[in-house]
Symmetry: C2
Subunit: 367 residues, 2 copies
């Protein structure tokens, strides 16, 4: 038989606008989203941070795991986890969002993981800064890319590969990339990249390679599948596209009231209620304002601050609705003047849909 | 407006046989399944145990949480977490499976959480036995049910309720029900019922009430929504049904080879491979055999044992396939002679589908 059953068009079902396919639901069952009711908190509870894993989670023995620096370095070396832990420690909360978050809201829909709103989270990440280690390995003149290669292997569009991504020397100088082995004051969990991953603050999650085994200095641009063939904004199938990098401005609300099990629509008795949530933007841009739509106007929410340059911002809005049906929404604006759109921006792969979060709420009279 | 927007037929979309609805996918994004690649392990890694939560996860301060024993007890009392922790400790691994696991494979499909295979897991649960505490509260003569009430509240089929379930005195005497506050040697996580839940070993997961606030002794049968209106096997809409209780015999395999990102079909080069996985049955029934289908015959797998009466059993089968396409399956038989069916048994709500696990594998020549 052919050595590659996973070529495009072979085993891959087609996208559908309305109804979702069996394969999309299998991905949704496997990958897990945040619980929106935790959006009142700065730190996403352990075990509820979103997960998007392309291939199988590797179960790696950290006692024998080694990170190697190779390729165009003059002083390549390797480090065990014990050696990494002896380096200067940092812990910081960083908000990560999947580039595919919101995909299910984009029309026509790309066939992939059908995220709605929930692929975002903020954890306390513990590790060390990457840049000093790259310097120690002495990149040769002419290095154009540092490639980060994970232990996870599989096929996408017929191409077998280890998950890998790259950053340029300029990007390394600008971004405070971390090598990470701890999460929320505990060891990194297997499904989040144990024993070692990177965190690229301010960028969508695809850059934060998990199960990191190798960092390679390259004197040409990295050509890995996940770098050049996906995670690109494309208008159509012929468009070569441009890379997905920093997160777009976005906000989510903790849905008020209580849910209906199946529809997740909300219900409350009339009375005072605080609408609260979190807002973030890419590249460390501060959130300038969050507005809440209650059906007749946008209301300014109060910003309650952020724990870190790269962490989301809390917000709240006190409200006293009369009985009625409300289609609530929240909308953030960042310090660069970027504002969330009301409708999903189109992208061929459904990347970076930062349209406003909408929640239907039924407010009823007190008995 | 009406005080209840969530009556049947109002906000609830209809079931569809083939394609999945937006609401089903939203449930799949929110509830999370096991990662099948961890099925080589006795204990499901922390943070990957399946989650099925009907309503919002309550975030409860354990310092002020109290469990109260009320209703038809002669010596009702309350316990704080500190008082519970001073009781005789037990830790045991128990396999839990969602009653709706496999629902997406049942035709016609019920409109609810569209599980395929992944709603199962085994954790080390730490707590104390419930029965001595019920005795201490001195149930009155004529008690017919003990109701277990959680802090999670919402609507289902138009009916607002706290999630609650009950067990009869006979069931309490037979089952080794635990009050639990620890999971895998760590505090119970919010999404798994912190600070306190019960574990009903051998039963489907709906019985293991999370966020437990109250145990009530009743001199009549408990009539809570989740006890009498759902979690019943029903042939059709008129069927009053019979309660879902113990888990049916079932097995899952760790899919061999590596995956295609979207279809999750598998690929490997020819050579020796061990097919392994886990098998379990309800009520503590031992697994008698597991067979692996490789396309031409069922092969006996080796059973590698279980850690506990109520934990799943490991199994493995050494195989050396030639190049080709294989539709693998695994099938367990328990000590009661119950065997997994090849096709999904019908149930109106899609409960307890224990049909065999099927995996497509492409084996290719070595280059």
């Amino acid at each position: 038989m052919t050595s590659n059953p996973f070529e495009p068009g072979a085993a891959r079902p087609q996208a559908m606008d309305g109804a979702f396919s069996f394969e999309e639901v299998a991905l949704a069952n496997r990958n897990s989203g945040a619980l929106l009711e935790t959006l009142g908190q700065d730190i996403t509870p352990t075990g509820t941070h979103y997960l998007l894993n392309h291939f199988d989670v590797p179960l790696i023995d950290e006692a024998v795991h080694v990170l190697s620096f190779g390729g165009a370095f003059d002083a390549p070396f390797s480090l065990t986890l014990a050696e990494l832990r002896a380096l200067p420690l940092i812990t910081r909360p960083v908000t990560l969002e999947c580039a595919g978050n919101g995909r299910a809201g984009v029309t026509p829909r790309c066939f992939s993981m059908p995220w709605m709103y929930e692929a975002v989270g903020t954890s306390q990440w513990t590790g060390t800064l990457l840049a000093p280690l790259l310097e120690r390995a002495k990149p040769q003149a002419g290095v154009q890319d540092f490639a980060f290669i994970g232990a996870d292997f599989g096929f996408d569009k017929g191409q077998p590969h280890f998950f890998g991504r790259s950053l340029t020397p300029d990007q390394i100088a600008e971004l405070e990339v971390m090598l990470v082995w701890g999460m929320n004051d505990a060891p990194l969990l297997p499904q989040h990249g144990a024993p070692l991953r990177i965190i690229v603050p301010g960028w969508y999650g695809m850059a934060s390679v998990k199960w990191l085994t190798r960092i390679e200095a390259l004197t040409q641009r990295y050509q890995g599948f996940q770098q050049v063939q996906t995670y690109r904004y494309r208008a159509n199938a012929e468009d070569p596209g441009r890379p997905v990098t920093t997160m777009r401005v976005k906000s989510l609300m903790k849905p008020p009231g209580v849910p209906d099990w199946v529809t997740r629509q909300r219900w409350m008795q009339e009375g005072a209620v605080t609408i609260e949530g979190r807002a973030w933007s890419g590249g460390g841009a501060a959130i300038q304002s969050v507005e809440v739509w209650t059906g007749e106007a946008w209301h300014q929410a109060e910003l309650t601050g952020r724990q870190d340059h790269y962490a989301w911002t809390g917000w709240r809005f006190d409200w006293h609705p009369k009985p009625g049906v409300y289609d609530l929404a929240c909308r953030a604006t960042d310090a660069n003047g970027q504002v969330q759109p009301l409708e999903a921006p189109f992208d061929l792969a459904g990347f970076a849909n930062n349209a406003v979060h909408r929640v239907r709420l039924y407010v009823v009279e007190k008995p």
